[in-house]
């Protein structure tokens, strides 16, 4: 199922934008997510940035699945979505419980209890 090296990435239907555009969008999304994660201190926003990066990855998977005509990439996306859903549940739970403890504060940098 793995295509030979140098296979041309073309849209077989011949209509709409090429796969490269989708990848570019995914790269932009991923970069936004990463920069957001690194620069913002609000935990909720950081969390959303993580989700953004996940979805950027999902987008690349789907794109490559389409371009290489390999259904495997789409299957992985489903896994990622399921795992992300579970992660959201746990992550939000943690965030909520951190917010409840007012002492610690509300930014990511104030939760440093686990430092070595």
């Amino acid at each position: 199922m793995i295509p030979a090296q140098g296979a041309v990435l073309v849209d077989k239907a011949g209509s709409g934008p090429g796969g490269q555009w989708f990848l570019a969008v995914a790269a932009v999304l991923f970069t936004i997510g990463m920069v957001g994660l690194l620069l913002r201190r609000n935990v909720i926003v950081m969390f959303m940035c993580v989700e953004l990066m996940l979805n950027a990855v999902n987008l690349t998977f789907v794109t490559f699945a389409k371009m290489l005509n390999d259904i495997g990439g789409q299957v992985v996306v489903f896994f990622i979505m399921v795992v992300a859903a579970a992660e959201v549940v746990i992550g939000l739970g943690i965030i909520v419980s951190i917010f409840r403890r007012r002492k610690i504060g509300t930014t990511a940098d104030s939760a440093v209890l686990l430092k070595g």
Partner: protein
């Protein structure tokens, strides 16, 4: 009876095992009687074996009982050899040991470790018998180390006294030097002959010959071992200190039996020794010088047992002198008679110490004794028998054996003979000094202020008391033996009576060869010369007695006595101090260096350094985990970028 020979060592071993396991329960005095019975049983069986052996022709007097195969690659079985030499030793060892066991029942009365004492004694007798009866070097070595261990255990029997504990250690350490020589000698013998069984070794040497340098090396190393065990120059220093042990131990181990093991070894390997004439000469001179050296020290000692200890060293020197001049019979003869009279004198000294207990603080110091004959007549009488025997007074046993050694020395080398005579004179002198200080003269214990203080503190006995029958009986038997013991090898009475020991030992052969299992002295002198020599030797002994009596009967004040006790001799020539300077101080320095520098800084340094390194590394690493989630995210992002760069560079994009 011959096939029962294995019972001779087995009985004391059984005794030791039973006493070890159940000694406390058996208790006093039954444990002592049990131990004595085991050794007495050994003695009775050896009498039977001896009778069997004696009834055979001379050529057949070697019986080897193989118990089981032990080290086939070394040609070594657990096998017991009964031949004239070993049975002679076994008889006097078991006989005297049985007597000393009985004596010890009385002497050790009331000791909290009574049964333990008899455990060790029985174990010692077992080891000694293995040493004597083993038919190969390895079994002999096993016994050799066994008696060394028992000697250590018994010297430090009263280990609560620091001096006793130290003396035990000293004996053990000094003996290691000799044992080292013995082991190397065994390696060489095996390398040369491919076996360690006596007869196989001697046969191989007879058939294949041996380089004279190898023979010399082997014999010198064996002699080093003998010097350690038999307390010869320069390894004698442990024996005087060994007097810290209970007196029966001194009598049994450090006078009669164990210390003669070195002489036995030299006699046993005589076919080898004869191939190394240089070593023979060395043995003779070391023996003669030790005899004289120790005799001079004995003239100035105050401790009743130390005099006897130096006397033992001196008499052992005599035996080595005999071995060195080829007088093997004389050596064994003197070993037997010495065992009789020295065991007797040690036991009598023990009886005196027992009687003086509680009378003075230092119950072994002769300067606090005097006129003990009044209180302990039987002990005194028996001690006097020993005194006459060791002084070479005819016809006591010591006269015959000493005379024979001097005769052999005379045949070989006149200088050795003169040293022997001088030693005989000194021996008679210091023994006379001892009996006068202990048994005659004024009672010094009664007027001693220390004694008064002691009595006031303890409130008991002011005078010595005679020992119980249990202790006097062995004294009596040994006194008789010390008087008549010379009969086993006296020169009168024709073929059937004269020189019995010499015939008995001389006529035995190593099976399958023409080699005599035992060789007596070679040369011969006329009977007129013999008589002259005997007269001269006797006169020397009498002169010593006369000198001792004239000086010590008249010198009663401590000041006048001091003139005869040279400080140098009192300090035993300061040999201990010299050894301590040469060996102990550098040894201690080396140990301290190893302990404080190598161990503490080197080894501990490496271990602690590893720990410090890990802890330091951890301290640095934990700074990475600072709790800021965004820092972690940054490092993940950094890693991601690095991976991407790497992938791009690698694919040459």
């Amino acid at each position: 009876m011959l096939s029962l020979v294995w019972l001779i060592p087995a009985l004391p071993l059984f005794g030791a095992a039973v006493l070890l396991l159940f000694g406390k329960r058996i208790g006093e005095p039954l444990a002592g009687w049990f131990g004595s019975a085991m050794v007495a049983g050994s003695f009775l069986i050896s009498l039977g074996v001896f009778a069997d052996l004696a009834s055979k022709t001379a050529e057949e007097r070697a019986y080897t009982k193989v118990l089981w195969s032990w080290l086939p690659s070394l040609g070594v079985d657990v096998a017991l050899l009964a031949n004239p030499l070993s049975m002679t030793m076994v008889l006097f060892v078991t006989g005297i040991a049985a007597l000393i066991h009985v004596f010890a029942i009385g002497y050790m009365h009331g000791d909290p470790r009574f049964s333990r004492f008899f455990t060790y004694l029985n174990l010692f007798v077992f080891s000694m018998l293995m040493l004597i009866m083993g038919d190969n070097f390895v079994l002999m070595f096993l016994g050799w180390e066994g008696v060394g261990t028992c000697s250590y255990l018994l010297i430090s029997f009263w280990f609560e006294r620091p001096s006793a504990a130290t003396a035990g250690k000293k004996a053990f350490v000094v003996n290691r030097v000799g044992d080292f020589g013995l082991m190397i000698a065994m390696f060489l013998i095996f390398n040369e002959t491919g076996s360690l069984q006596y007869h196989a070794v001697f046969r191989s040497i007879e058939e294949n010959g041996i380089a004279s340098s190898t023979a010399t090396a082997i014999c010198l190393l064996l002699f080093l071992g003998a010097c350690g065990k038999s307390a010869q120059l320069p390894l004698y220093v442990w024996l005087p200190d060994a007097m810290e042990g209970p007196t029966p131990v001194s009598a049994l181990i450090h006078a009669a039996t164990m210390v003669t093991a070195g002489v036995y070894l030299m006699v046993r390997v005589h076919p080898l020794l004869e191939l190394a004439p240089g070593v023979m000469t060395t043995v003779a001179w070391v023996g003669a010088l030790t005899a004289l050296f120790a005799a001079t020290i004995a003239t100035a000692q105050d401790d009743i047992k130390r005099v006897l200890a130096y006397s033992t060293i001196s008499q052992l020197g005599y035996m080595f002198l005999a071995v060195g001049v080829g007088g093997n019979v004389a050596a064994i003869f003197h070993m037997v008679t010495h065992a009789f009279f020295k065991a007797l004198m040690f036991l009598a000294a023990g009886s005196v110490i027992h009687g003086m207990h509680g009378v003075v603080v230092d119950e072994q110091n002769m300067k606090w004794m005097g006129n003990i004959k009044k209180w302990m007549p039987i002990t005194t009488g028996t001690f006097l028998m020993g005194w006459l025997a060791i002084s070479g007074f005819p016809p006591f046993s010591g006269f015959w054996s000493k005379d024979e050694i001097l005769l052999d020395a005379y045949k070989e080398n006149k200088a050795l003979w003169v040293i022997g005579l001088l030693t005989a004179l000194l021996t008679a002198y210091y023994m006379t000094r001892q009996i006068i200080l202990v048994f005659f003269g004024k009672e010094r214990f009664a007027t001693d202020s220390h004694a008064d203080a002691h009595d006031a503190a303890h409130g008991h006995g002011h005078t010595p008391h005679e020992s119980p029958v249990l202790m006097l009986f062995p004294l009596g038997v040994l006194a008789v033996l010390a008087v008549v013991g010379g009969a086993i090898n006296q020169p009168f009475g024709g073929k059937n009576l004269a020189m019995r020991l010499e015939h008995w030992l001389d006529e035995s052969f190593i099976p399958g060869t023409e080699i005599h299992a035992f060789v007596g002295s070679h040369g011969s002198v006329g009977s007129g010369t013999k008589l002259t020599l005997a007269v001269i030797a006797t006169l020397c002994g009498l002169a010593g007695i006369a000198l001792g009596a004239s000086q010590w009967l008249t010198r009663t004040s401590p000041e006048s006595q001091k003139a005869l006790e040279l400080p140098l001799l009192k300090r035993a020539y300061g040999v201990d101090a010299i050894y301590s300077k040469i060996f102990e101080v550098p040894g201690r320095k080396l140990s301290e260096f190893l302990a404080f520098v190598v161990d503490r800084r080197g080894i501990d340094g490496v271990v602690n350094g590893m720990a410090t390194l890990v802890r330091g590394g951890g301290t640095q690493l934990r700074k990475l985990q600072n709790g800021y989630v965004r820092t972690y995210a940054l490092s993940i992002a950094g890693g991601l970028v690095a991976l991407l760069v790497w992938a791009i560079v690698r694919t040459g994009f």
